[in-house]
């Protein structure tokens, strides 16, 4: 599972970091930049058209830039952050060691009773409040209601 973590933590001295790991980290950094800018854009409440006007670019170009970080450069990051939030791009980094391990697995995502699934999804909130394991499905309730009415209507012999 944490093959890369161990490779990175052992990368001190002259040990070579595998090229696949370096490429992984490069793409990850690119995706992190994209994530950062898009979250800023969403919280700003700006529209794509407004951002296009601010940066003096066409709407198509802005749409392309916000769709993926594919061709982003440091300049692109700086321009987008200035246009979106009037902020400067200040790089930061963090060590791989000493990070808290996650306590959620992908298998937990499959479980509808996972407590932290409701961060964005409606499902878990509903599950917690409304789901009762022993409650019969609504169709059965209907059938029972109809059955009881029918039984009451029948004359007792």
């Amino acid at each position: 599972m944490s093959q890369t973590t161990s490779l990175l933590s052992n990368s001190s001295g002259s040990a070579r970091i595998p090229p696949g790991v370096l490429a992984y980290l490069g793409e990850r950094a690119r995706n992190n930049c994209y994530d950062f800018v898009i979250r800023k854009f969403r919280s700003s409440g700006l529209t794509k058209a407004e951002l296009a006007r601010r940066l003096g670019k066409g709407a198509d170009r802005i749409n392309h830039l916000l769709a993926s970080p594919g061709n982003w450069t440091v300049d692109t990051m700086a321009e987008l952050l200035a246009g979106i939030a009037g902020e400067e791009f200040v790089p930061a980094s963090a060590s791989f060691s000493g990070r808290a391990q996650r306590n959620v697995t992908q298998a937990d995502i499959l479980s509808p009773r996972r407590d932290n699934i409701d961060k964005g999804g409606k499902l878990a909130k509903d599950v917690r409040v409304e789901w009762k394991f022993d409650a019969p499905p609504p169709a059965l309730d209907k059938i029972r209601e109809i059955e009881s009415k029918t039984l009451k209507a029948e004359p007792v012999s």
């Binding site: 995502i109 499905p137 059965l140």
Partner: protein
């Protein structure tokens, strides 16, 4: 009890197929979800699907990606050369973005996906998407379907525009037939691994990913 459970699940699937999912009560919706959840867990237990391995155990997990053998082998190697290893390293990072709850762009307009991360493929009725790993070229496309909100099942992959030296797979290029074959391949695998299950369909982005998305 088993018969009633089977019958209610079947009814729920019929309702879903009719596109009236949003009108049904919560319990019905949950039954559908449970059914797919059960099928996915059974497929994982049988070894037909595997969770995307995460390279850093500190990363958050907000969504799930399940891999068919073909995609799993693509990621795990062995790698033929340094270019192969690098390309797969980048693809792995792109796929992890989905699982860690990163921002993803979705495009519902066929043949105009541009730079979107996820594109709904034509015909939309097949509910097949491709995850588009574009950097560096030639890009790679991972085809799959959404089993439920935030749950993507990756079933096959293809190089996008050119042959890659480390695989004999034909690139999709702009050949309609090759795209159709890939989509058909995807459907066939889905039906084999998750028989009777219906993938998420429609044009509401929230049905695919609950948050952190942008529609382009």
């Amino acid at each position: 009890v088993y018969g009633v459970a089977r019958l209610t699940r079947l009814c729920a699937k019929i309702v879903r197929l009719c596109g009236k999912g949003s009108d049904t009560s919560f319990n019905w919706w949950l039954l559908i979800y449970m059914s797919i959840q059960d099928s996915l867990q059974r497929a994982v237990a049988r070894g037909e699907l595997a969770y995307l391995p995460m390279r850093l155990d500190s990363d958050p997990i907000e969504r799930a990606m399940l891999l068919d053998d073909e995609v799993k082998e693509l990621l795990s190697g062995p790698f033929r050369d340094i270019h192969h290893e690098r390309r797969i390293g980048r693809l792995h990072a792109d796929l992890e973005t989905f699982v860690t709850g990163g921002e993803v762009s979705l495009c519902f307009t066929h043949h105009r996906h541009g730079k979107a991360y996820l594109g709904l493929l034509d015909p939309p009725g097949q509910a097949t998407w491709d995850i588009r790993s574009r950097n560096p070229g030639p890009g790679l496309r991972v085809f799959g379907r959404f089993a439920a909100t935030n749950i993507f099942v990756a079933l096959t992959w293809r190089p996008r525009s050119k042959h890659v030296a480390w695989s004999s797979k034909d690139p999709l290029a702009d050949d309609n037939l090759l795209w159709r074959i890939a989509i058909h391949d995807c459907e066939e695998k889905w039906n084999r691994i998750l028989p009777g299950e219906v993938p998420v369909a429609g044009t509401r982005a929230e049905n695919y990913v609950s948050d952190h998305f942008i529609v382009v």
